[in-house]
Amino acid sequence: MSKTDKKTVLMVLRHSPYGAGLAKAAVDTALASAAFEQPIDLLFIGDGVLQLQPDQDSHSKGMKNVGRQLASLPLYDINHVYVDAQAVARYNMDLSTAAVVTRELDDNEMHQLMSGYDHLLGF
């Protein structure tokens, strides 16, 4: 792996946790990134905010619990997690007990955030 210069990466997560395999693939990629010491921040938008729903139970679906996986982000030094405030309001979610600490952003703030990174990784 080339270690020449580290790129700043914002991962944008748009999918609900169990509707497609992409939510899990995204978390795996974020953790892999951190494992290779490449900094990565996360932004949950639209249906993606549902990944942060507290107390998920995926047992009956035979799938891994995405919420529980997200809880391990701080252990990998992934501490900047942003959410789409409008989507959080639309789903009437309370993120105060979510597995990770998030910061809510409005559309303007999300736009500004996205412009500040070398790469956007869309999932």
């Binding site: 792996m1 080339s2 270690k3 999918h15 992409l22 490449q38 956007l120 990784l121 999932f123």
Partner: protein, 130 residues
């Protein structure tokens, strides 16, 4: 400019996988370089060696095979997604006791580290599908 592409969509639904292959062709034609193309989730189906297109139709699988035939390009499929979708090279087929490999030789099976490296080593990383 150095590009890497991330392909998330199946080559059999929608146009994203074909758009990615077309983008790669155009970028090379304009003198840019493609560091790597990484296939994840259903995107890994692009490596299928046994897919047969209906007459008069062309799927993204053919596009990728053509691209690989014309240029020396690093096409990498994510191992976790690949195994799930039945996309095995000979080593994985042997390891998991399956009767044969199912992917084209143009593709390499590897881990997410290859995507992380693509991020670090490219000026632009473009996601197709998802």
């Amino acid at each position: 400019m150095i590009y890497s592409l991330l392909v998330l969509s199946s080559p059999f639904s929608g146009h994203c996988s074909r758009s990615a292959a077309a983008f790669a062709q155009s970028a090379i034609a304009r003198g840019h370089s493609i560091h790597r193309i990484f296939f994840l989730d259903a995107g890994t189906l692009a490596s299928s060696a046994n897919s047969v297109s209906a007459q008069g139709e062309q799927s993204a699988v053919t596009d990728w095979a053509e691209l690989a035939g014309q240029h020396d390009i690093d096409l990498v499929i994510c191992i976790t997604s690949a195994l799930k979708h039945g996309m095995l090279d000979q080593a994985e087929a042997d390891r998991h006791e399956r009767s044969s490999a199912t992917i084209s030789r143009a593709f390499t099976v590897s881990g997410l580290g290859q995507l992380v490296d693509a991020c670090a080593s490219s000026d632009r990383l473009i996601t197709f599908g998802g």
